[in-house]
Symmetry: C2
Subunit: 350 residues, 2 copies
C-alpha cells in the first residue's frame, strides 16, 4: 500500500528543510568557528569511563568544575548536548512567539519552526546593533515568550549595546505577559566585554547560554545554560535524562581544568583576529567588519564566485548568501592558516 | 521585580515532573538494564579524534559499519543521542495522538506530555500481550499519528505477538488517517525472535528503533532508527545537526567491529537470565515472569519493603511502583552479581 509520508507530518515540518551541515573536503577549514587548537585525550581520563553504564544524568563532576570556574552555584547550571539542544528545550518549555534579531544564529529560527512556534524577526540597525524601538514595540504588541540575543552576534561579530540588551530584558520582565530573554554568549570568551553573568541575580527572566564548542571542544557537544533555579527546574522537566554522554563528561571534566592553556589559546585567537582584520583591510575590494568573536565577516563583490574560488584552492570559508548577502565569514585560525587564507584570497581577487 | 516562572511555561509542562534519574549509591547495580560487560577504549581510536572540530553531522563511518552488520542501506538509518532523542523527534514530526500500551517504557508518555501531544494508553492483556481489539478500535476512532510498541517490552520482558503487531501496522497504514508504528527493539538482541527488520520493505509506515545502550555502550548514547527513506528525511529535518558527538562516534565505530565479543556477552547474559529465572522460581513468595530481554520482572509481597531492604544491603533493583505495582525489575548481571542478588534477596525475604 502506497502512502505519502509527507502528508502525515505536522504542517510546520512539511516545508522545513534539513539544516545543511554536510562535510565539505578542504585543506584549510575556516567555516565553522571552531578553535584551531585541540586537546589530547589522556589515558588517565579514559580509565574512569565505563562504556556499559549510563552516564551521570546530572553531570555532577563537570558541573562542579564549571560552576567553580565561573563563580556560580551548580543549581544554576544545566547542560545540553550542545547549546542547540538547550534552545530546543527552551522553546519546548516556554513556547512562542520567539523573537530574535536578523541576521543571527540560524538555529533560533529553525528550531522555532520545527516546534511550530511563531517567529518575530527584527532586523538589526545599520551598525548591526539591536533596533531597540522595534523590539520594545514587539514586546508590547506581540508579547514574545522568548527573545534570543546572541552577543557577540553570529555572523556579524559585534557585541550588541549592553544598555539596549538590559532595556529589553527589563521590558520583557515588566510586560503584561512577561517573557524569557536568552543571551547566547557562545563567543563571549573572545570579547572585550564582560558578558551578563553578573546581571543574573537582578533578572529572574534572564538566561545565559555558554558553550565549550568555540574554545577547543566542538567535538564533545557540551553547552550549558545559566539561570534562576526556577527556570532551570522547568527546563529540566523536558531534558532527556541521559543527554550528556559519559565520555564527553569525563573528557571535559579532565581537560577544562587546564584553564591556563584554554586562556592561552583564546589570547592567540584574539590577537590573530586583529592581524587578520588588518590584512583584510589592506585588500582592495574587501570590507571587513570589526569582530569581538573568533570569526570575521567581510563584504566582497561577487561573493559567491570568491567563495567557490577559495574552495577550489582548498580554503573553506562560510558563504553568507541568504543571511548577509554579498558577505563571507571566515573563522580565525592559526597564524599559518591566516597566512594561507590571505594569500589565496589575494590570488582569487585578482 | 518578582515573577513566577511557572506561570510562563506552556500548560502541558506546568504539571510535568522531571524524569527522576538520580544516581543511587550501591554495590551491585541491577536497576538500569545495562550490560555488565564494558569495553576498553584504545589509544588507536582516540588518535583519530579532534576535540576542537565539530563531529561529522552524518556519522558516516559509524553508519557504514552498522548498516553492513544489519544488511541495511545507510540511507535507511538515522542516529539519535540515544533512542530517547529519536522518540522526541518522531513526536515532534508526526505529532499526536500518541498510542502505546501500558505498562511500557516510560519515555513515550513523558515526551508526548512535554510536547503537548494527546496520549492514548491501552492496557496490556493478562498475559502482558497487546490488546488487539482495543488498539484496532483506537486506530479507527482516535486516529493515532504514532504508535509505540516496545518488543521485547520493558518492564514486562516478553515479546508481543508478531501477528498482533503486524495487524496493528497494517491497520494503521490502511486507516483513513494513516499513522506511523514504531517498534522499539532495544532488547531484541536478547530475544529468540528475529525482530521486524525484514518487514520494513512491506510497510512504509514502519519505524524500528535500535540502541547500543543494552549491549555494552550505554555511556555513549547512541540509538538509531531504521525506516523508509521518506520517513528518515522528515525526521532528519528536526534533528539537531551535531547530535552525535565525535568521541561516541569514533569509539562506537572502533568497538562494534568486535561483533564476536558483543555476541559472546549477549550469550552470557541470556544464559545467566535463565539461571536467574530458575533461582527466582525457587524462592517462596516470588513470582518471576519469563523474559526475552536482559532483565526479569518479578512479583513479591511488600515490594517497597523488599526494594529498600535490598538497597540497604547494597543491591539496587528497580522498584516498579506506579508502573506494575507490587513488582521489582532486576537486570541480568554477571554470574557473581546474580549470586549476590539471590543470596541477599533470600536474606531480606526472611
Amino acid at each position: 500500500m502506497k502512502i505519502s509520508i509527507k502528508s502525515l507530518v505536522s504542517p510546520n515540518i512539511r516545508n522545513l528543510r534539513a539544516y545543511n551541515a554536510k562535510e565539505i573536503p578542504c585543506r584549510v577549514k575556516l567555516d565553522a568557528n571552531e578553535s584551531p587548537y585541540g586537546f589530547e585525550i589522556t589515558d588517565k581520563i579514559l580509565k574512569s569511563i565505563k562504556t556499559n553504564r549510563y552516564p551521570d544524568p546530572e553531570a555532577k563532576a563537570l558541573k562542579k568544575i564549571i560552576s567553580k570556574n565561573l563563580w556560580l552555584t551548580p543549581e544554576n547550571i544545566l547542560f545540553g548536548n550542545g547549546s542547540d539542544e538547550l534552545i530546543y528545550y527552551l522553546i519546548t518549555v516556554f513556547g512562542g512567539p520567539v523573537l530574535y534579531p536578523v541576521p543571527t544564529f540560524s538555529m533560533y529560527g529553525i528550531i522555532s519552526q520545527a516546534l511550530g512556534e511563531k517567529r518575530i524577526e527584527v532586523p538589526l540597525d545599520n551598525d548591526f546593533d539591536l533596533n531597540l524601538e522595534k523590539i520594545l514595540t514587539a514586546i508590547r504588541k506581540q508579547k514574545p515568550k522568548l527573545i534570543f540575543l546572541s552577543s557577540p552576534n553570529n555572523p556579524t561579530g559585534n557585541c550588541f549595546s549592553s544598555e539596549r540588551i538590559l532595556k529589553i530584558v527589563d521590558a520583557s520582565l515588566r510586560a503584561s505577559k512577561p517573557g524569557i530573554v536568552v543571551i547566547d554568549e557562545a563567543y563571549q570568551p573572545f570579547s572585550s566585554e564582560k558578558g551578563f553573568l553578573p546581571m543574573l541575580s537582578d533578572y529572574k527572566n534572564l538566561v545565559i547560554l555558554r558553550t565549550l564548542s568555540k574554545i577547543g571542544f566542538a567535538g564533545l557537544r557540551i553547552g550549558f545554560m545559566i539561570a534562576d533555579k526556577e527556570v532551570i527546574n522547568e527546563v529540566n522537566k523536558v531534558r532527556l535524562p541521559f543527554n550528556l554522554n559519559s565520555i564527553s563528561q569525563a573528557v571535559a571534566a579532565g581537560l577544562i581544568k587546564n584553564l591556563k592553556t584554554i586562556k592561552l589559546h583564546i589570547g592567540l585567537i584574539t590577537s590573530e583576529r586583529e592581524r587578520l582584520l588588518n590584512e583584510l583591510w589592506k585588500i582592495r575590494g574587501i570590507k571587513p567588519y570589526p569582530s569581538e568573536a573568533n570569526f570575521i565577516l567581510f563584504k566582497v563583490k561577487n561573493s559567491d564566485k570568491i567563495y567557490y574560488r577559495l574552495l577550489k584552492k582548498g580554503v573553506l570559508a562560510r558563504n553568507m548568501r541568504g543571511t548577509v548577502d554579498g558577505c563571507l565569514r571566515v573563522t580565525v585560525g592559526t597564524k599559518k592558516e591566516t597566512n594561507i587564507f590571505i594569500k589565496v584570497l589575494k590570488e582569487v581577487m585578482k
